[in-house]
């Protein structure tokens, strides 16, 4: 747990970067500090490992004031990743990753084993250990930066816009991998970004900073989007907050509606009864494995039960987001989306009302 108690940072020129900040960051959570430039988010991050010293107030980690440790010891116990990887250009990738373990005086074998392990953890090739940073792409350098921060297995990681300098495609991949890594490691992470979408994607909790280093709101991404506390937060969240909320929720979070399902070869009466029960004028046809084959208008099916079904493509997987469900919904001829499992078996039907209820 990292606790800011009335922390203020005033720079020598008089600007107040952070103003009486009270904030508690929970252990094992990824907290994102987000806000416009000059809002004090980076300064707040840098005060945790004393790259910047607080002018007033205290910061405590697990109840212990950070000024009680020698500063080098404090920093060696906290991982740090920065925007431009900040790798040492004169050291190989392996030596870069080994930095903190060597500062801590680990023996050679242990360092070498740890470097090997981390290179794989962050998705790099073993033979890269002997290369120099300038021989790597920007995305690869950021991976090394993450590996270097993780090297001594610190419980806390500070990340200052770590993915801001890479192109959008690489950024998306790094974010995905990073989320998977965090799900496995469960570090206490403080993550600074100016990109609200990145904050929403990654954060367990988001601290929105306003001008002048004041905290505007501290909430989970869903709470933030559902109930922004001020106009400033509304503006900062940007357009379509409801769409952003949908992208946070899994398809499984939405309630399904009654589905008019029939098996292949069903009678006209069975089709009519299924449609009546669901109050529709169409039915979905599934095979013996409950895989969707298509749909019929009940009237057309009653006239000719041998006709070929119309194709039905409005399908989402259970792991997709409700935003994907909405995308499928707008192209669905029936105004509904079918949820299917990994094997393509029917799992339920979603309508616009399902999305509405998930958001309210």
């Amino acid at each position: 747990m990292i606790e800011f108690s009335s922390v203020t940072k005033r720079f020598p020129d008089g600007t107040v970067a952070v103003d009486a900040l009270d904030l508690t960051l929970a252990t094992g959570e990824l907290t994102v500090l987000v806000g416009p430039s000059g809002c004090g988010k980076t300064t707040s991050l840098r005060m945790i490992n004393r790259l910047d010293e607080a002018s007033a107030g205290t910061i405590a980690i697990d109840g212990v004031d950070i000024r009680q440790h020698p500063v080098t010891e404090l920093r060696r116990g906290i991982g740090y990743v920065m925007q431009h990887s900040g790798l040492f250009p004169h050291r190989t990738i392996g030596d870069n990753i080994a930095t903190v373990p060597r500062l801590l005086g680990w023996d050679k074998k242990r360092v070498a084993a740890r470097v090997d392990e981390l290179i794989e953890t962050v998705g790099l090739e073993r033979d890269m250990a002997k290369r120099y940073p300038h021989q790597l792409s920007g995305g690869q350098q950021q991976r090394v930066g993450v590996a270097r921060a993780l090297a001594a297995d610190p419980p806390i990681m500070l990340m200052d816009e770590p993915f801001a300098a890479v192109d959008p495609i690489v950024r998306k991949r790094l974010q995905d991998e990073f989320l998977a890594l965090q799900a496995r490691l469960g570090k206490t992470i403080v993550f600074v970004t100016h990109d609200i979408d990145e904050a929403i994607r990654l954060g367990d909790r988001i601290a929105v900073f306003g001008e002048g280093g004041r905290l505007a709101q501290f909430a989970t991404p869903n709470e933030l989007l559902a109930a922004p506390k001020s106009d400033f937060v509304v503006d900062f969240l940007g357009a379509e907050p409801q769409l952003k909320r949908l992208s946070l929720l899994p398809v499984s979070a939405a309630a399904t509606i009654e589905a008019p399902l029939i098996a292949t070869g069903a009678t006209a009466a069975e089709a009519t009864s299924a449609a009546d029960t669901a109050a529709t004028d169409w039915v979905l046809v599934v095979d013996g494995e409950r895989r969707i084959l298509g749909w019929h208008r009940v009237a057309d099916y009653a006239a000719d039960t041998a006709r070929a079904p119309e194709s039905f493509d409005a399908v989402v997987g259970a792991g997709d987001t409700l935003r994907a469900a909405l995308g499928a919904l707008v192209i669905s001829p029936l105004g509904v989306v079918a949820r299917v499992d990994a094997d393509g078996r029917f799992g339920g039907l979603l309508a616009q009302s399902s999305l509405h209820r998930a958001l309210s």
Binding site: V71, R75, Y80, M82, L87, F88, P89, H90, T99, V100
Partner: protein
């Protein structure tokens, strides 16, 4: 044109002068570095020192060499000290400027990273900043070395050894052989020292190989 027999008879003396030339150059660079390095660190720590330090070393650098040696004679006499003081002074400007530039050229994010990872200041300087600054510092050292090798020939005029002795001998005797020997040896020495410093840099900076401009 060249009296090889003279060279043969004076080989011991020529070698001694060459060694003394190397010795004077080496000590001048050593002392110069010992003064310029802390001065450079101070100028980085307190930027206000940089201008005056640069001006001071610059003014010293512009004093004509012979004049400087003559100025020093009342204090230190016709001694090794006089020539070493003079030679050291001439290395200061180049060494100071290049050490400062080299250390300032260390990228900000690299210095930030080493702070954030928990380096102490001295360890950061020795294991991060100095190695990265090395190419610029070595460039200064090479120029200072060549300049000093040239200047050592002048110190012969105040009675010190070095290849300059051969020039004096040549001029006083109106005899070309020692002049040519001195000329060839001082150039060869400058080239050899420059190449070996370049070689040392190449060995010491494996990360720079293959991306040198």
């Amino acid at each position: 044109m060249i009296r090889w027999d003279w060279i043969g008879r004076h080989a011991d003396d020529i070698l001694a002068q060459l060694l003394q030339h190397v010795e004077l150059t080496g000590f001048a660079l050593l002392f110069g570095f010992a003064i310029a390095f802390p001065l450079a660190l101070a100028a980085i720590r307190w930027p206000r020192l940089y201008g005056p330090s640069l001006a001071a070393t610059g003014v010293l650098f512009t004093v004509p060499s012979l004049a400087l040696f003559i100025l020093l004679i009342p204090f230190t006499g016709l001694s090794m000290a006089t020539s070493l003081i003079g030679l050291t002074i001439y290395t200061l400007l180049i060494l100071f400027r290049n050490i400062v530039e080299g250390l300032r050229g260390v990228p900000f994010e690299v210095r930030e990273a080493s702070r954030a990872l928990g380096y102490s200041k001295s360890r950061q300087l020795l294991t991060v900043e100095l190695p990265i600054a090395l190419p610029v510092i070595m460039a200064g050292l090479r120029i200072a070395a060549i300049t000093t090798i040239g200047l050592v020939t002048v110190t012969a005029l105040i009675g010190q050894g070095g290849l300059g002795r051969l020039f004096i001998t040549g001029f006083t005797l109106h005899f070309t052989t020692p002049l040519l020997v001195g000329f060839v040896l001082s150039i060869a020495l400058a080239v050899a020292v420059d190449l070996s410093l370049a070689g040392v840099l190449w060995l010491a900076t494996p990360w720079n190989r293959g991306r040198r401009t």
